[in-house]
């Protein structure tokens, strides 16, 4: 059994529970994103894996060995902090060589490893630069190289890209993913950016209120959210209350969605349907509604439709530009295969 295993990991600060009995199995070489709103406990969980925070309960097992009582500096992991935490008094090469120096590796080998890592992060020849002479993206890479210097078993990153501007962030997401695949290292990234998680992860772990809400592959998280929290947090969605009639059909916004059945015994709940799945049709089809606003963004068109006081958002591509404007009556069709039925 290799990889990382979390068993009932709990952290309480006084009466506040930051992390509530988390169980998770991360196979070797997996890229995991801990995703959630701020204050959901994801950073605390990462810090416990790193040993910077002691769990109140439960255990952390790395490569089959219980690491809970092992101090941080003996856990053989690499961590990139949100602030990067590069040492200001050392230059690029010395920063990357720091973990090697601590282990007493001789200076020739240190130099060779630093050059190798600089090449890996596309910064060859930067060894003698000062930290303050680097751009944000370059610092990011140096922090990554320093964390990887000892080829750790586990690579942890705490909101690593949050300080970068949007363009650079997207480029770094791709780069980080490629680097991880190249090295095959088990990686855990904390983020609150769902695009980041979707781009990089094999396994997305959505956390909310100190618990894991869902742990699954990115597309599954998006297409099959486990509950309303996940559906709402990942991308945007239309959450609609439903009731079942006597025949088990779902009644939403005063109309029945044909072909959709509720699981047995579920009398009411909510359905989640993604805006791109909502189909705007001619009046008379599906639910009757009135267009309240059209946001034409060029690449996509968002149409807001009012059905009996509830606003539904539909997203279409310009190919389907229909010329619909605010005030027009339309029919709204919810394709049954795109609806996810959620318990309350």
């Amino acid at each position: 059994m290799s990889g990382l295993e979390l068993r009932d990991v709990t952290k309480r600060f006084g009466t506040f529970t930051a992390v509530d009995s988390i169980n998770l199995n991360v196979p070797d070489g997996t890229f995991v994103c801990l995703l959630g709103p701020s204050g959901c406990g994801k950073t605390t969980l990462l810090r416990m894996i790193a040993g910077l925070e002691e769990p109140t309960d439960g255990s952390i097992v790395i490569d089959g060995q219980d690491m809970t009582p092992v101090p941080t500096h003996k856990r053989n992991l690499g961590m990139v902090f949100q602030s990067l935490a590069l040492f200001p008094h050392l230059d690029v090469g010395e920063n990357i060589a720091y973990p090697l120096r601590i282990r007493g590796i001789d200076s020739v080998k240190q130099r060779a490893r630093v050059d190798e890592l600089l090449e890996l992060i596309h910064l060859s020849g930067y060894a003698d630069r000062g930290i303050s002479q680097l751009s944000g993206g370059q610092r990011q890479r140096v922090a990554i190289a320093r964390a990887l210097a000892l080829s750790p078993k586990l690579f942890l990153l705490d909101e690593p890209l949050s300080a970068l501007d949007a363009k650079l962030r997207e480029a770094m997401q791709v780069e980080l993913r490629q680097l991880q695949q190249q090295l095959g290292i088990t990686t855990i990234v904390v983020t609150h950016d769902q695009r980041e998680a979707m781009t990089m992860a094999d396994l997305v772990v959505v956390m909310g209120e100190a618990r894991i809400r869902q742990a699954a592959a990115p597309v599954e998280i998006y297409r099959q959210p486990a509950d309303a929290f996940v559906a709402d947090f990942i991308g945007s969605t239309n959450l609609l209350d439903f009731r079942t009639d006597g025949a088990g059909r779902l009644e939403v916004l005063g109309g029945v969605i044909a072909g959709l059945q509720a699981p047995d015994g579920l009398g009411q709940g909510r359905i989640s349907i993604r805006p791109e799945d909502v189909h705007i049709a001619s009046p008379g089809e599906g639910h009757a509604g009135t267009v309240t606003f059209v946001r034409d963004l060029g690449g996509t068109i968002e149409t807001f439709v009012n059905i009996g006081g509830t606003t539904i958002v539909a997203v279409t591509t310009p190919r389907d530009r229909t010329g619909i404007k605010a005030g027009d009556p339309v029919g709204v069709v919810f394709p049954p295969e795109a609806c996810v039925v959620l318990a309350r």
Binding site: G51, L52, T72, H73, N76, F87, H89, I102, R103
Partner: protein
Amino acid sequence: MRREPPRNAADYAPIVFPGAMLVIFFVIPFSIMLAVSFFRRNPAGFYSPDFVFDNYARFLSPFFGSVLGFSLLLAILVAIICVAVSVPFTVLLTRASRRAQTLWLVALLSVLSLSEVIIGFSWSTLLSRTAGITNLFVAIGLMEAPRALLPGFGAVLTGMVYQALPYTILILYPAIVRLDPTLMEAARTLGASPTRAFFNVVIPALRNTIVATLIMVFVFALGSYLLPQILGRPRHWTLSVLITDQAILQSNMPFAAAMAVFLVLISLALVGLTVMAGGRREA
């Protein structure tokens, strides 16, 4: 912060008042002292205007030389001990709870409110044979019989460190509070034990602050003249004691002024050397 350079006389207005205060209360008195140091002593009266080097010549004797040496050594020792104690203490303090930090800082500030006289006599009681801490050591079986720990060099050093420690901590506190705590955590994730991380990361990151603090405490300790007299023997007296003695008891103002000028020059030179040494390592 970027500012426009001053263009006309009116732009300099904000510095007129502090400038004037500096001239009236610092430059003028120091100039008078500098002038007096070249005057001739008049045993009958006070001094008469002149331009002689007698005062400085008299100073160049083994006696005054050794006093000067002792004063500098004492101040350097106090500065080093204070910084060596304060840096770890302040680092630990900044990790304590907000409430504990406030309590400690208030306690330290209250030590500052004590006068040098009270500190001196408190320590002289504490180190005495009859009522001192050695009685406590006897009570718990550490010592055979109580003994006096003063007068002596250790007593002088203890008193001066006690007096300078709150200053040191208060100077270090703002810089250490601003220090990014993740630097230390990063060092730990990279395989450094907490002690090693402290010496590898915290100390180098605070180097400039530590140098500045050493200088401040050194200058502060150099001016001390009451504690060496209360807690030490005459051979533990500092140059400041001799200056006071010459100026007030011997009425030899020109000689006192010459010694004071010399002390200022020596300490300026030492401060300059420290700054230069710090600056060179930076490059």
